[in-house]
């Protein structure tokens, strides 16, 4: 690894923060959903960096698990989005305010 591993980690933190920002600035459910993927990938990148540092394959296995998790979450999340769309024909998080107080 020619670069300082810390540089990779900084990239990972930046992606993580961008993912979080997506939650704060967007109302579209699907884009919020994309932000989750961004956050997960940030974590995955950090793990791969550390796996490289320690020469440890466990990190790679965990990456595989994150991938599977992302797939599972997208399946559930998208079907919920569809269920909502059937009811409301809207994909706006600001519309999810029936429960509050």
């Amino acid at each position: 690894m020619a670069n300082d591993p810390k540089a990779y980690l900084v990239v990972s933190v930046l992606l993580f923060a961008i993912g979080m920002a997506g939650f704060l600035i967007r109302k579209n459910l699907l884009i919020v959903f994309l932000s989750v993927e961004l956050m997960l990938n940030a974590g995955a990148l950090a793990i791969l960096v550390f796996a490289r540092l320690y020469g440890d394959t466990d990190g790679h296995v965990f990456f595989f698990l994150i991938l599977a998790l992302a797939a599972a979450e997208s399946a559930v999340g998208l079907s919920m989005v569809i269920a909502l769309y059937r009811l409301r024909h809207k994909l706006d998080t600001d519309d999810l305010v029936e429960l509050r107080g």
Binding site: F16, I18, N28, I31, L38, L48, V61, A72, S79, I82
Partner: protein, 165 residues
């Protein structure tokens, strides 16, 4: 050379990531994210993790994101949707919360004593090594993971099937 590729991949990943949450149309966002993920795959290759890199391109950018894009194209109404707008208070909150947050984490990382990168075995990051590990020592986690995927499958059926009852 390595250095140059790192900067290219890193800036593309971050830049496309930023676009992914700021573009107006959901479809554009998703496509930006795919770009970001491909750039990330490049970083993974640099980290001597070829198999995760391939998975990233094939499964993440390829399969999962395609699913998302499908849904976006199915559901998104063609006309301008107010939900596409960016929330101003959200931007302000992001600036005030996330810049310190990121700075804090970056500070922690920069001040940490990371180990010197270990010399790695030649099969590090290959399908064989990961597969052996996953189906060798990590069988239990793999079993639980299969429950997770089954649960996701059943959940998708429960939620999205049109005529269930």
């Amino acid at each position: 050379m390595h250095q140059v590729f790192f900067w290219i991949f890193a800036s593309v990943a971050v830049g496309a990531g930023l676009l992914a949450i700021t573009r107006k149309a959901a479809l554009h966002c998703a496509l930006s994210l795919v770009v970001s993920f491909v750039a990330l795959a490049g970083l993974y290759f640099q980290l001597k993790a070829p198999f995760p890199g391939i998975l990233q391109v094939m499964l993440y950018a390829g399969a999962i994101m395609v699913l998302v894009i499908f849904v976006i194209m199915f559901l998104n109404a063609p006309e301008e949707d107010p939900s596409e707008k960016i929330s101003k208070p959200g931007v302000i909150a992001s600036v005030f919360l996330l810049i310190p947050f990121a700075a804090l984490l970056i500070g922690v990382i920069l001040h940490s004593n990371l180990p010197v990168p270990a010399a790695v075995a030649p099969d590090f990051g290959t399908v064989a090594s990961i597969g052996t590990r996953l189906f060798g020592t990590w069988t239990w986690v793999f079993e639980v993971l299969s429950l997770l995927l089954l649960a996701a499958l059943v959940a998708a059926v429960l939620l999205a099937k049109k005529r269930l009852d």
